[in-house]
Symmetry: C4
Subunit: 123 residues, 4 copies
């Protein structure tokens, strides 16, 4: 299995990182996560653009995923060019030079520990 599968562009409209977390850090820190799968024989270079409700989009956030690897990224860890704001809606567009499969999951410990999951729409 070394064929590159998936798509070169993904979008996530419903981003939101709660301000509050409950439980031991860092396992229970509230977070949005991207799981990025590169099944191909070549490393992939990604550019992430972050969209906001009331100002221009910010980016690119640059990420790489090696050949035949999965990489998990916390949105909280996207800090350059600037950190993603807590407690506000945001959206992501992810563009890659190689086909990828991307899944977006949420771990929200601001309430009673519930989690929410959704997948990115391949556009």
């Amino acid at each position: 299995m070394t064929k590159a599968i998936g798509a070169r562009r993904w979008a996530i409209a419903g981003g939101h990182i709660p301000v509050e977390s409950h439980g031991p850090e860092p396992a229970f820190t509230s977070r949005d996560q991207l799981s990025i799968l590169n099944t191909g024989a070549d490393g992939a270079s990604l550019a992430i653009t972050v969209f906001h409700p009331d100002r221009d989009p910010v980016g690119p956030y640059e990420i790489t995923v090696p050949a035949r690897r999965v990489r998990r990224i916390r949105v909280n860890d996207l800090i350059f060019p600037e950190a993603v704001e807590l407690g506000r809606p945001y959206a992501l567009v992810i563009e890659s030079d190689r086909p990828l499969v991307i899944q977006f999951t949420r771990f929200d410990s601001s309430g009673s520990g519930a989690r929410l999951g959704s997948i990115a729409a391949d556009l």
Copy 2:
């Protein structure tokens, strides 16, 4: 990133706003939410139609999303031409003059604080 991506029509079949909420308002109010991403260089005008189990659909609810912005809308806040009923199934069809990416998420505090997420089907 100013290319308009996504689709002009989206549907959500499984809407439901619980009658009861637990926890501090408004953060813990039970709600269904739409996250609407407009990546394009032009503002988008949306018309939302609400479908019911036992009477004709209601609409249009009119919404705009500026160019290169994400907008989050609580279904509870759709009040013109009429509020969406609590405690009953409903469905949404969203039509736009520009391509959009839409994600539907649920925050349900009627029980023990669980959350439920799903994405809209691009038709």
Copy 3:
């Protein structure tokens, strides 16, 4: 909005109705639910086939959804030709004479009240 949108065939692979429920009945009864949206000008007739791990599929379960309506059906209420077994995996294939949008949601009160949601894949 009277155009029929969606697909004529949907599948849900991950059905499971817990044996135990906690909380007041019927609001907190564990259940799998189908939300079926018919946006078109004609009523839709559906035939549901239930697949099992260890015996032949059962069906058809026959359902109708009126024109321009949404209908929510608990899988627990599919009792003819036979009730869907509790506590065991099952899958559904739903075939319709009209395009529909279908969303599958789970309410599981067997544990601490969490809920799980997923959407049916349009095939």
Copy 4:
């Protein structure tokens, strides 16, 4: 209903099996699950490849699903050629000789019993 529906290849990017579980075993063991539906008249042979963050993919894990059956598999039970590691990200690519419908669900009892659901992307 004996027509084979679905796709021959599926991918799940966001795998993660928590190290800790709370509640009676095995019903409350934290787990990722695959629900695999084979609607066709012939049995299906599957080869699963597991991707990791920091080493080469492992596989194939070989699975069969009989004709006209649904089969649920816990990722925890994929032990040959080796068990999937707990507490680390992983991804799956599933290839089949027949069309299938596959849904990925998560039961996470490491926190307060929440569950998370997502569907596999048909590629």
